[in-house]
């Protein structure tokens, strides 16, 4: 396992056991071989990847030291803007859109010579739980390609779980990092709202969206989080990481740490998933932590609040795709209004159109008070409920998803059930809290089960610490058969 970890690869590069170009080429070759099965990447960037790798090799040849993320092959979800590299949100409406600026997170990583292998698949505009709402077709689960990788950051999870990238950045609006990480048996963290700059992240729901790392292990998540959690003046809602780098406290003892379990989080969860989480609680007890149970009745509001508010914001955020300035434009039309109408009708997929309609509806005069305003109020209720909970525990333990990865096509055939699977992930987006998903078992078919550790605002260090201790004690992670083997 160590050979696919950031620190291990960094040592190999420094010790010249492998050159950065060899390492990069190994990933590019694996992509060539396996992407057909996984459909993780929608755009590959081999030339610029090898160019960066060559620059890193030159530095190493000159005897210069390199940073931890320098020369490490990685990927970005295709809603993170990359100057000169197509960024599509996996939507027909942006299929030919090439940004002219870099998202802040990519700027930070590029400055550290991160090797970008390509852009990865996602549900269109990050709306979905299976990655199947992608105009390029869904990404597949590296543990079994008959199952979905999850969504919306399915491509990143598939690439990282399938060893076609060491790590990746996804975005999480209602679970889009944690859910595919859980499905693919890897680690995904949604940071506190404001910890990572959103500048350059193509918005789905602005007050929920947050960029975070998807990695094979907790330590890598901590390393990447430290690298991207900087205050950014380009994002008014940015605050940056509060406190010292999380890597420093990652391996601290957790004796006496209080982990809370809200009973409502376990309602309706599949038995094997609940058992896996309960076993994880046992592992924590054995590490000297304390498990406390509590009630969180406000949780029942989470799904409607999420779908009302996220869709409202989305309906406004997606108004700009009109075919006038960039992206797809309908081929024939009678006038400008007809052009906009046809462009949007044929450029957006079904799920996106559904959410735009829903969002437009809840903001309309006459319905605003009954839906949008009420949902905002309940958002406040959830925020206080969670902050109350953190008076009696340090972190909250919960399943990430009530089940394991669906089979291909299932989400499309049962959209309401698919919405319901977001129940465990949306609360932290509503409340702005940080949450991390780590693998905690496998179902009878061998599909990974994930559990979630939720922290108080800006307490990423605490949840990463708890996650690392569990990972180290339970040793659940199993690499998939795909991708690079060093």
């Amino acid at each position: 396992m160590s050979e696919s970890k950031i620190a291990g690869l960094h040592r190999m590069l420094e010790n010249k056991e492998i050159s950065c170009q060899e390492l990069t080429q190994a990933y590019l070759d694996a992509m060539e071989r396996d992407n057909g099965s996984l459909n993780a990447y929608v755009t590959a960037t081999p030339e610029s990847a090898l160019e960066t790798a060559a620059a890193v090799d030159e530095k190493l040849a000159r005897g210069e030291s390199i940073g931890l993320l320098e020369g490490i092959p990685m990927t970005l979800k295709d809603n993170i803007s990359t100057d000169g590299i197509r960024t599509t949100c996996c939507s027909k409406i942006l299929e030919n859109y090439v940004p002219i600026y870099d998202a802040t997170v990519w700027k930070l990583l590029r400055q550290q010579n991160a090797v970008l292998l390509g852009k990865t698949n996602m549900d269109e505009f990050a709306m979905g739980s299976s990655c199947e709402n992608s105009c390029f077709g869904g990404a597949k689960n590296p543990h079994n390609v008959n199952h979905v990788a999850g969504g919306s950051s399915g491509g990143v999870a598939s690439a990282v779980g399938g060893h076609l990238a060491v790590y990746g950045l996804g975005s999480d609006t209602g679970g889009s990092i944690r859910q595919p990480a859980s499905f693919c048996g890897i680690v995904g963290m949604k940071p506190t709202y404001g910890a990572v700059s959103r500048y350059g992240l193509i918005a789905y729901a602005s007050s929920f969206d947050q960029i975070g790392p998807i990695t094979t292990n907790v330590e890598d998540a901590a390393i990447v989080f430290d690298a991207i959690s900087a205050y950014d003046e380009m994002d008014s809602t940015s605050q940056g990481r509060q406190g010292e780098p999380v890597c420093r406290t990652l391996k601290n003892d957790i004796k006496g740490m209080k982990l809370g379990i809200a009973r409502e989080y376990l309602d309706g969860v599949r038995d094997d998933v609940r058992q896996a989480v309960e076993q994880a609680a046992e592992v924590y007890r054995s590490l000297g932590a304390e498990i406390v149970f509590f009630d969180l009745p406000a949780l029942k509001y989470a799904l409607p609040v999420y779908y009302i508010l996220a869709c409202a914001e989305a309906s406004s955020n997606l108004g700009r795709y009109d075919g006038i300035r960039y992206g797809y434009k309908a081929e024939s039309y009678s006038d400008v209004n007809d052009m906009i109408k046809k462009t949007r009708s044929t450029g957006f997929g079904e799920e996106v159109k559904k959410r735009i309609l829903l969002g437009t509806y809840v903001l309309s005069s006459g319905y605003y008070d009954a839906y949008y305003k009420k949902a905002q109020k309940l958002r406040g209720t959830l925020v206080s409920a969670f902050s109350d909970a953190f008076r009696s525990c340090d972190v909250i333990l919960a399943p990430t998803v009530p089940m394991t990865a669906f089979e291909n096509g299932h989400a499309v055939s049962d959209p309401v059930e698919t919405y319901l699977t977001d129940i465990c992930t949306v609360p932290v987006n509503i409340t702005g809290l940080p949450g991390i998903s780590v693998p905690c078992g496998y179902d009878a078919k061998g599909m990974p089960i994930g559990m979630q550790i939720i922290g108080n605002s800006f307490e990423e260090a605490k949840i990463l610490n708890a996650a690392w201790q569990y990972e180290n004690a339970a040793r659940i992670y199993k690499p998939s058969d795909f991708g690079v083997k060093l």
């Binding site: 993170i80 949100c89 600026y101 729901a205 309906s315 700009r320 400008v336």
Partner: protein, 470 residues
């Protein structure tokens, strides 16, 4: 029946900040299309707005200068509508928590026109129609605006005119906008209704959109007032609608449908944070405000003892007032400077734009120098007047135009000598005077003035002549 006009204004004023409201692009007017743009102001996917602090500061100034309360907490909202000149398909504006509330502007008749609110927002781009196709120029997109919303307190076209002029003047004084209506940096929407005189109930209103000249506003209001009165008189009803004024035909017509039917689906912009303006900051900004036109007018009349009419002419343009104050500084009576400006200099700055710019060859300092020569008895008024004309033409200073000998004046002997000459040269006038025609003496004094090239003191000359022919 007699009808009364009831009108309220929504005035958009472009703020004169160097950069746009949410990015660092220039706000300069004109420029090649789409050159004053960046990913943020053309709303590229993933970009985020960042509020320009200067915009908040300017809007607070505007609020304070119009007697508004400044909200300690205000918010930015999205106004959603789809139009090609609006690249995000929403305008970032303020809806339920504007920055300034409850102010007023006092008119010369003593009536107060209440201001409901002033909020900040971004301007849209511009559609350019050419040869059957339409292009979009986003240079203006993201230029900061304030929208000043009045209550329906205006009762006549004269009041409307004065309200707009006062607003324009105040904004220019405090330096937040040049308010050039012809360039669109000040635009008015007018809400109009009519009601029988004495009635308290408001009639159905119409809204005339986007007018960019005070004269058009007056004409449009007059037309619309008459149209509504005619409708009511003939038993029809005024329909609430949005109108466009056509300055060629001098009529208003409905913009029809879409704009009226818009549901803007306002909601708080999640990309921006709450605007907090501490009391102390408001006080700081208030302390920085210059003397406002109303205060200046009062001071000119009460302290400088100018006739109100003159004072009004001077305060009407900030640069004129500044020029006046410098020119009058340290002189015996401020009235002298006022007279020179109104009587002579205004002939060189005839229209509004010229007065606004006050771009003339004479500096306030040299006018001040000229007035001091009069005050010190070095030159007479008529020489000063002719010198000022030369100054206005050439840009030279008084010292370059008036010689030592000009300033020396005439001594008593020279004056007596010249008066003697004048008596001898005008026997008819002398005879007339002796026969009781008092006015005939003016001709003899005129001779003295002419031959002394204005240096003689007319009063002294008259006395001397009377003595000679007495």
């Amino acid at each position: 029946m007699k009808y009364e006009l009831v009108a309220g204004f929504e005035t958009h004023v472009e703020l004169a900040t160097n950069t746009k409201i949410f990015c660092s692009c220039t706000t300069q007017f004109g420029g090649e299309p789409n050159t004053h743009c960046c990913p943020i102001c053309i709303g590229l996917p993933g970009t985020l707005p960042k509020l320009n602090k200067r915009v908040v500061e300017y809007a607070i100034k505007a609020g304070l200068a119009t007697n508004c309360e400044i909200a300690e907490i205000s918010e930015m909202d999205r106004k959603n509508y789809c139009y090609p000149d609006l690249p995000k398909a929403y305008q970032i504006s303020q809806f339920d928590r504007p920055l300034c509330n409850h102010g007023y502007i006092e008119l010369s008749n003593g009536r107060k026109i209440r201001i409901l609110r002033i909020h900040i927002e971004e301007d849209a781009g511009k559609l350019v129609h050419s040869r059957g196709s339409t292009l979009v120029d986003y240079n203006r997109g993201g230029v900061p605006l304030i929208e000043i919303v009045s209550e329906p307190d205006i009762r006549s076209i004269e009041e409307a005119r004065e309200y707009v002029e006062k607003l324009q003047l105040i904004m220019r004084y405090i330096g937040v906008s040049d308010c050039k209506m012809q360039e669109g940096s000040m635009r008015c929407d007018v809400n109009i209704s009519v009601r029988p005189v004495g009635s308290e109930k408001l009639g159905t209103r119409t809204e005339i959109k986007n007018m960019n000249s005070i004269n058009f506003i007056a004409k449009a209001m007059e037309y619309e007032f008459n149209r509504q009165v005619d409708l009511i008189e003939s038993g029809e009803k005024v329909v609430q609608e949005t109108l466009r004024y056509d300055d060629v035909t001098n009529t208003t017509s409905g913009m029809r449908g879409k704009e009226d039917a818009n549901d803007y689906r306002y909601f708080r912009d999640p990309d921006l944070v709450t605007i907090n303006v501490p009391r102390s900051r408001v006080e700081e900004i208030a302390a920085e405000l210059p003397e406002l036109p109303a205060q200046k007018l009062k001071r000119y009349v009460e302290e400088l003892e100018l006739p109100e009419k003159d004072a009004q002419l001077l305060v009407k343009y900030r640069k004129v007032a500044e020029f006046f104050e410098k020119a009058a500084e340290g002189t015996k009576t401020p009235k002298t400077a006022a007279n020179f400006i109104i009587g002579q200099i205004f002939r060189y700055v005839e229209n509004e734009a010229e007065k606004e710019a006050m771009d003339i060859k004479v500096t306030a300092e040299s006018l001040n120098e000229l007035i001091k020569l009069i005050d010190n008895g070095k030159i007479r008024m008529n020489l000063a007047k002719s010198t000022l004309d030369k100054m206005l033409e050439t840009g030279k200073k008084p010292s370059e135009l008036i010689s030592e000998s000009d300033m020396a004046g005439l001594d008593e002997n020279a004056l007596a000598e010249l008066c003697q000459k004048a008596v001898e040269a005008n026997p008819n006038a002398v005879a007339d005077y002796k026969n009781g025609k008092e006015k005939a003496i003016k001709a003899i004094v005129g001779f003295v003035m002419k031959n002394s090239r204005g240096k003689a003191d007319a009063m002294a000359a008259e006395a001397k002549i009377k003595e000679l022919i007495g």
